[in-house]
Every structure is written in structure tokens, then in C-alpha cells.
């Protein structure tokens, strides 16, 4: 069952079409990575989903309703949007108490979520003195305040050190294990690849693909890296055999979806000199880059 439904969503800021007829769904209990390069429209999409930005057209719904129509949004949906949205003079505990009092939650929840994100010791410190990593943790604590079943996180790994990213993965996995639905955006697939069940990839405001992580992994390909002084001559020869190859520097080619045997035989038949051949496999990040750069120029 779809918890989050984005349908024909568009947003225009002046001349810029930030989100362009975007549609996708997030099913209950799944962890979905919302991926795309910087400026692809991820943040704008999430802000429309949360009722902060009005769509130019289309709809974004949570459990069938626009966010603004949810009866008790904090107990329903938790969101982390930007790392710096705290008053610098307020302590972490008081920041959470402000949110708790507006949401009608008991103050005790503040200390509970601080412990949950490992900030119990910093409860009374002013947020102004927090590191970026601590702010991200406090943001997550705020999102968890109402113990919501749906979590929407915008670039939660931004500014985290490797230890922080490791911590974040653990938290996401833990939340997923509890059966919560999580939509987490990132511009780096590797940050979320170990945690997500599915990915929604967008570029220039448009949907590129929505698939399971397994399907994306299946798109990785066998590559042959060839070093030759005759790269320019070898390329059309490979193409004639139906093997695609991209130049990589002046004397290297990367042949896609083939084997060293096939490349070697083609080269030998034409008398092309090879210095080096290496079989590789493209990784997820390559697939991601390929998918997001393939998109045509904006109309």
C-alpha cells in the first residue's frame, strides 16, 4: 500500500522548472532512497510533500491526504529538512520542548529522543555551539519526537564524517526494522545503498527511474579497459562488431558489455597494438552517474 503518493508534481520558480511532472510512490514499510545530483529538485519535491512549498501543478499526498490536511502531523510524519534550523541560543532540550509544546507532546519525549540519537549529554548545551553532525542528530531527534510511522529525511548525511555516516546507516536500518516507512534523499548513492530497498532517481526535476536496488545492481556491466596508442582507430573497429567504447584520455578506451577476448581478437585482426587490457565491472555509482547524466537538456 502506498504511503507517499507523488502525482504529476511540478514546481516553477520564475523561469526555472525545478520539478517537472514527477510521479512516484513509496510503499508502507519500505526504505526508499530519493536520489539525484545537486539541484535535481529533491529538496523542492520534499518541501512540496510537506506542505511548505505550494506545487505549481500536481499533488503530493501522505496516506491519501496532503500534509496540511493531516490531523496530527507530528505523530504521523517526522521530517529532517535542513541542518541549521535551530535557534542558536536555545539548548537542545529546549528546542525539543518548544516543538513538544506546540505538538501537545509531553516534555519527557524531549529527553527520550535525545537519548535515542546519542545527544543526552549535550541536552543543556546551546545549539549554537553544536557541530554539523550534532545538528543532524538533533534534527533526527526532532523528527522522532512524535514517534511517527513515516520519516522524510533530506540529505541527512550531508556534513557527517565517516563515523557519522556509519551511525546514520545504523539508525535508518533500525527505523526500517521497526516497520517504518522512510524516504531519504541523497546526492550520493553510496551513502544510502546499504540501507534502502528501492531507489527513486531524478535529474533536472524529472523522474529517471524508480526501481529496486537489486534491479539497479543488475544494470552494472562488464567493462574492458584498453590502453592503446591507436585508441581513435580501435573505437570504430569495435563499433563495427557491435561493441560500444568510450574514450578515457588520449590512449585509453573503455569497452562496455564485452570481454577482453572479444576486444583482443578485434584488435589483432586489424593489427592494432595493445599495451594493456583489464576486465572491470561498473559499480552502482557508475550506473547512477550514467542515468542522471543521460537525461536530455531541459526543455
Amino acid at each position: 500500500m502506498a504511503v507517499i503518493t507523488i502525482e504529476g508534481l511540478s514546481k516553477r520558480f520564475g523561469d526555472v522548472l525545478a520539478v517537472d511532472d514527477l510521479s512516484f510512490e513509496v510503499d508502507q514499510g519500505t526504505v526508499v532512497g530519493f536520489l539525484g545530483p545537486n539541484g535535481a529538485g529533491k529538496t523542492t519535491t520534499l518541501r512540496m510533500l510537506l506542505g511548505l512549498v505550494a506545487p505549481t501543478s500536481g499533488t503530493a499526498r501522505i496516506d491519501g491526504r496532503p500534509y496540511r490536511a493531516l490531523a496530527d502531523p507530528v505523530r504521523h510524519v517526522g521530517a529532517v529538512l535542513e541542518a541549521s534550523s535551530f535557534h542558536p541560543g536555545r539548548s537542545a532540550r529546549n528546542h525539543l520542548r518548544v516543538v513538544a509544546s506546540a505538538a501537545g507532546l509531553p516534555f519527557a519525549r524531549a529527553d527520550a529522543v535525545l537519548a535515542q540519537v546519542g545527544l543526552a549529554d549535550a541536552a543543556q548545551r546551546r545549539v549554537g555551539g553544536f557541530s554539523l553532525g550534532m545538528r543532524q542528530r538533533l534534527g533526527l531527534a526532532t523528527a522522532l519526537l512524535g514517534d511517527p510511522q513515516v520519516l522524510i529525511l533530506d540529505e541527512p548525511a550531508n556534513g557527517l564524517d565517516p563515523e557519522g555516516v556509519h551511525w546514520l546507516r545504523g539508525v535508518l536500518r533500525h527505523l526500517a526494522d521497526q516497520g517504518r516507512t522512510v524516504l531519504v534523499s541523497s546526492h550520493v548513492l553510496a551513502e544510502v545503498a546499504q540501507t534502502v530497498d528501492q531507489v527513486v532517481i531524478i535529474a533536472r526535476g524529472r523522474l529517471v527511474t524508480q526501481s529496486t536496488l537489486a534491479a539497479l545492481t543488475a544494470r552494472t556491466e562488464q567493462l574492458v579497459r584498453v590502453r592503446t596508442p591507436q585508441a581513435a582507430a580501435l573505437r570504430p573497429l569495435l563499433a563495427a562488431k557491435g561493441i560500444q567504447a568510450h574514450p578515457d584520455g588520449a590512449d585509453q578506451l573503455i569497452a562496455v558489455g564485452t570481454t577482453p577476448e572479444a576486444v583482443g581478437q578485434t584488435a589483432a585482426a586489424a593489427g592494432v597494438v595493445l599495451y594493456e587490457m583489464r576486465a572491470e565491472r561498473s559499480n552502482l555509482e557508475d550506473v547512477f552517474l550514467q542515468l542522471t547524466s543521460q537525461q536530455g537538456a531541459p526543455s
Binding site: 511548505l52 505550494a54 521530517a79 529538512l81 534550523s85 535557534h87 529546549n94 509544546s101 506546540a102
Partner: protein, 246 residues
């Protein structure tokens, strides 16, 4: 709604702004009492009736403090981006602005009453030291307090309204200062007649804070300032409800 007003008070209590302002007001109150007692040129000598005059010293500044509280309370949300979290908790933005329109005038009134109580204590002590026993139950004292409460409350409303309209904290503060110190003065001299100038917002506030020198009655000033506050609050709310929070 009560919950949202309480949340606004929690916000106010958990930063240092309001404490700093209270300290500044207390210091200013002592200064006005000292100035009014020591500088008696052309004024009637100190007597048991001097208390209302002494207590009234900080009233104008207290109206300004309420204005400042309103502006800071509204624009602070945008300055520190806390508005995102605020609207996530309460997506009905009109209710958030309404809660601020209740909370900050009340905070301004509380600050005014606390400061005036402190001022009265200082003044009464000073007069007592000079051998004068001031009369505490003076109708004029009641009028000073009423004027202060009305001015602080309405100026707090104006502050929230201006904050919602302008959103940028520095622009709102500078804008209000320029309006009061420059534009109203220019308009006053351009209009060249107190009969028109008395309809300006500052003149309406002055009818409450300094009724002796004003051209409007207290009721007139109250109604006019309330009209300005309402117009600003409505326009500001409309804008905040519609604008994207990016």
C-alpha cells in the same frame, strides 16, 4: 490554540532576548526616575502627587520594547529558519501567526507592567528618602498604567504584523526605525498640520503613552492604533500563509 500560544511563550522563555530587554528596561526606569527627580526646572516641586509623573517615564520606551518583541518573535523564525519546523508541527500557518498575535502583545504588556511596578518602587523609595510619602491610589496612576498596557499590547500586535510582512529581521527593524524617525517626521512637515499628522501611527501611540501632548483622545488613539495593527496583521498573515518556505 492555547497550546500554540503556550509554545510561543516557551520559545520566548528559552532564549535570552526577553531577559536582556527586561534588564535594559529596569536600567532605563532608574535613569528616568533619577532624571525626573533631579531636573525640576520649570516643573512643579516634588510632592505626594509626583508618583504618576515619575512612573510614566519609561512608558514610551516600553511601547517600543513591545514593538521590538513582536518583530523579533515573528522575524526570528525566518532568520533562524525555525519557521520550517514551526510549520511542520502546525501546517495551518494562520493559527501560528494568530498565536503570535496573542503571545507577543501579552509578553509586551507583562514586560511593561513589571517595569512600571519596578519604576514605582524606585520612585516611591526615592521620594520617601526625600521625606515625601507618595499617594499610591491615585487615579492618574491608573491612567498611566492603562495607557501603558494599551500601548504595549497594540505595539506588540503592530510588531508581529510588520514582522510577518517584512520577514527579514534586519529590514524590519531598520524599516520601523526609519519610519518612526524619518518618514513620519517628513510626512508631518509635508502635511504641515497636526490635524492630519495626528492620524500617523506614532501619534496614535503617543495618545496612549503621552496623553498630555497628544492631539487625539485616548480612545481615539486606541482605536486608530488598533486599526493600524489589524491592517498590518491581516496583510502579514495573508503573506505568510501564501509564501513558499524554501
Amino acid at each position: 490554540m492555547t497550546r500554540l500560544v503556550r509554545a510561543e511563550f516557551t520559545k520566548l522563555r528559552t532564549t535570552r532576548v526577553v531577559y536582556g530587554m527586561a534588564a535594559a528596561m529596569a536600567a532605563f526606569a532608574v535613569l528616568t526616575v533619577a532624571a525626573n527627580i533631579s531636573d525640576r526646572q520649570g516643573a512643579p516641586p516634588l510632592s505626594a502627587d509626583s508618583l504618576p509623573m515619575l512612573v510614566g517615564g519609561p512608558v514610551t520606551l516600553l511601547a517600543g520594547a513591545a514593538l521590538l518583541l513582536g518583530i523579533l518573535g515573528m522575524t526570528g523564525e525566518f532568520r533562524h529558519h525555525t519557521v520550517t519546523q514551526t510549520f511542520l508541527v502546525t501546517p495551518d500557518r494562520g493559527r501560528v501567526v494568530a498565536a503570535k498575535l496573542v503571545a507577543y502583545p501579552l509578553a509586551g504588556i507583562a514586560l511593561a507592567l513589571a517595569t512600571l511596578a519596578f519604576t514605582a518602587a524606585v520612585a516611591a523609595g526615592w521620594l520617601a528618602a526625600k521625606g515625601i510619602t507618595p499617594s499610591m491610589f491615585d487615579a492618574r496612576l491608573g491612567r498611566v498604567l492603562l495607557g501603558a498596557v494599551l500601548a504595549a499590547g497594540l505595539c506588540g500586535l503592530v510588531g508581529v504584523g510588520v514582522g510577518a510582512l517584512v520577514r527579514n529581521q534586519v529590514a524590519a527593524l531598520v524599516g520601523v526605525l526609519v519610519w518612526v524617525l524619518v518618514i513620519e517626521g517628513l510626512l508631518m512637515s509635508l502635511l504641515n498640520a497636526p490635524s492630519l499628522g495626528k492620524w500617523l501611527p506614532s501619534a496614535a501611540a503617543a495618545a496612549l503613552t503621552n496623553p498630555g501632548a497628544a492631539h487625539l483622545s485616548r480612545l481615539g488613539g486606541t482605536l486608530l492604533l488598533a486599526a493600524y495593527a489589524l491592517a498590518l496583521a491581516l496583510a502579514g498573515t495573508r503573506l505568510v500563509v501564501r509564501r513558499d518556505i524554501t
